[in-house]
């Protein structure tokens, strides 16, 4: 009586002819109207607050709209995109974002996998360690940034006091152009480690014990078991963590904005979204800001597509 999955049924057919069939048949019509009523609320929100704005933003990116001036916006074609390629601030923002990603991701992956392997042992007190590691994850990003700003403070913070005990000169941390990004990355690692650890842990627990038992019978060492069983079988999870890590790196903003509201020394913390925010909501250069947002979109889209193709070839799925 109930409908079978529809994907096969409707595949390859002309949806417009389908529509006619649905309208004519009273039973199908009732089902279609029910579906329409079910979809309506979320569809309305998505169309009005996602698709409409996206098109609007694309339109704005082809104008020289500068808010707060009397000069009317003019259509300038791809001028904003061309200007971007010669803008030092844009390249700085891109470089800063990539630097953040390159510094953070490898450390994040290795540390969270190591933590997951440690937590995956049948030892006493594991739930305590799991909770300790997860505490920063549920902490608000702004609060986390505030705590670390206090820790990094060159005069009243704790880190310089720690350095002094081992005889190292005080550092300026977030105010030092060379140290600013590593300092931010440390906060990001602290904040995100527990999240990825939990994902890795779920992946580890999904690997069947029989593989390890067979390997133990063959006399495999712990390293061989890790290298030839754990790593390959964990690769879908590793890929997921990496993909999300890359995409999130391009969207990082609040962390920098609280740690260094001015973009850091020599703009060393002005990542892409920070730059986008400054252009759009502080300098009100709407046309230019919209263009930057589309470049961000293109990067995220390109990365997702690229990694998807890569994953199909390389990732081992059980």
């Amino acid at each position: 009586m109930l409908a079978k999955p529809t994907t096969k049924e409707t595949e390859g057919r002309n949806p417009f002819l389908e529509l006619v069939r649905y309208v004519r048949n009273p039973r199908l019509r009732r089902e279609m109207l029910a579906a329409l009523a079910f979809l309506a609320p979320s569809l309305l929100v998505i169309v009005v607050f996602v698709y409409l704005p996206i098109l609007w933003a694309l339109g704005i990116s082809f104008t020289d709209w500068q808010a707060g001036t009397t000069r009317p916006a003019r259509f300038v074609g791809v001028q904003n995109y061309v200007d971007m390629l010669t803008s030092g601030d844009f390249w700085n923002a891109l470089k800063t974002t990539l630097y953040f990603m390159v510094l953070k991701l490898p450390l994040d992956m290795v540390l969270s996998l190591a933590a997951a392997l440690l937590l995956n042992q049948k030892l006493r007190g594991m739930s305590f360690f799991r909770v300790a590691l997860f505490m920063p994850v549920v902490t608000s990003m702004v609060a986390a940034a505030a705590i670390w700003r206090a820790l990094y403070n060159p005069t009243t913070g704790y880190f310089n006091a720690l350095l002094a005990t081992v005889g190292i000169a005080p550092q300026r941390w977030l105010r030092d152009p060379n140290l600013a990004m590593p300092s931010v990355v440390l906060v990001a690692l602290w904040k995100g480690l527990g999240y990825n650890t939990v994902i890795f842990l779920a992946g580890l627990q999904g690997i069947s014990r029989t593989y390890y038992e067979a390997a133990a019978l063959d006399g495999a060492t712990a390293w061989q078991r890790f290298r030839h069983i754990t790593l390959p079988l964990l690769s879908p999870v590793t890929y997921f963590v990496l993909l999300i890590g890359v995409i999130n790196s391009f969207q990082v903003f609040s962390l920098m904005h609280v740690l260094a509201p001015d973009g850091g020394p020599l703009n060393s913390l002005e990542v892409l979204v920070f730059y986008l925010y400054r252009l759009t909501f502080q300098e009100f250069r709407f046309g230019r800001g919209a263009a930057v947002s589309f470049i961000l979109f293109a990067i995220v889209l390109g990365l997702s597509l690229l990694q998807q193709r890569f994953a199909e070839k390389r990732v081992h799925y059980e």
């Binding site: 389908e18 029910a34 929100v45 300790a132 997860f134 505490m135 999870v237």
Partner: protein, 277 residues
């Protein structure tokens, strides 16, 4: 003998590493609480102390006199609850339609939802801001909530779950001529309780910490959500590190308490939405 010894050292090393890791994650919280209770003089003591010599609880009342923290809490609670409720409700409806009902353009519509997942939300910020100002919603609860009342991720997540529920459970009701709405609310949703709890917690946690949009759309102090209120307080408190940390404590502790009480749900929810999303 040597195997036993190796196992012992393995365990010992594991504990040492785990303790080191936990100290590193917990230490900033200790620093936060310690600093929040310091006197103004002790903040500037050299070398800095980790734990204050006297506990100055009045720092918290001083923060509450400077900024309306409770108001920020209320705002965050109102905004996050509204967004979470409508996202879950809308996703239950749409997820059920995609999992069970037959209708034309089904695949195309599903793609329309899924495609929103790869759109970085920063791209829509400017037009959303323009749209919301045209509606006259700047600095209002509508402005903070309405643009985010639907979530494609939640639709996808619940659709996946609904597909695992056996159809037979609904068949009798269909034979009796029950409406789709009744089937969803009286048969399917009660069975989907664990999935609903997971997605609710997940949405609540991520919306609770939203930063960019409330930063853009609020002007007055009275409309600030907790992250934005705390952010401006961090700027205003300047070198008064004890007050800054007292503010952080007030923002962090309630959520941490909630986490300690329901840590299994938190962690398993993350593992579930993460690995299946």
């Amino acid at each position: 003998m040597s195997y036993r010894l190796g196992q012992f050292f393995g365990r010992f090393a594991s504990y040492v590493l785990l303790i080191a890791l936990s100290v590193a994650t917990v230490f900033p919280f200790v620093w936060m609480v310690g600093t929040a209770l310091k006197s103004r003089q002790e903040v500037f003591a050299y070398p800095p102390t980790l734990w204050p010599s006297e506990l100055h609880w009045e720092n918290f009342t001083r923060v509450l006199e400077m900024v309306p923290f409770l108001k920020f809490y209320m705002n965050s609670l109102i905004v996050t609850s509204a967004i979470t409720f409508f996202q879950v409700l809308g996703a239950a409806l749409a997820g059920y339609a995609f999992a069970r009902l037959r209708f034309p353009f089904k695949n195309a519509l599903f793609m329309l939802y899924i495609a929103t997942l790869i759109i970085p939300n920063q791209v829509t910020m400017l037009p959303l801001f323009l749209l919301v100002s045209r509606f006259g919603w700047i600095d209002t609860y509508q402005g903070l909530t309405v643009p985010f009342l639907a979530s494609a991720f939640a639709v996808f997540f619940l659709r996946q779950f609904f597909q695992t529920i056996p159809r037979e459970l609904e068949e009798a009701a269909v034979m009796d001529g029950a409406s789709r709405r009744r089937i969803l609310f009286q048969i399917v949703l009660p069975l989907a309780r664990p999935a609903l709890a997971t997605i609710t917690l997940f949405i609540f946690l991520s919306e609770w910490d939203t930063y960019l949009w409330p930063l853009i759309v609020t002007n007055s102090e009275a409309m600030r959500t907790l992250p934005i209120g705390l952010r401006f307080f961090v700027e205003e408190s300047g070198s008064q590190m004890n007050l800054m940390m007292a503010g952080a404590v007030m923002a962090v502790v309630p959520i941490l308490l909630l986490f300690f009480m329901a840590q299994r749900q938190f962690i398993e929810g993350i593992a579930m939405t993460g690995s299946k999303g």
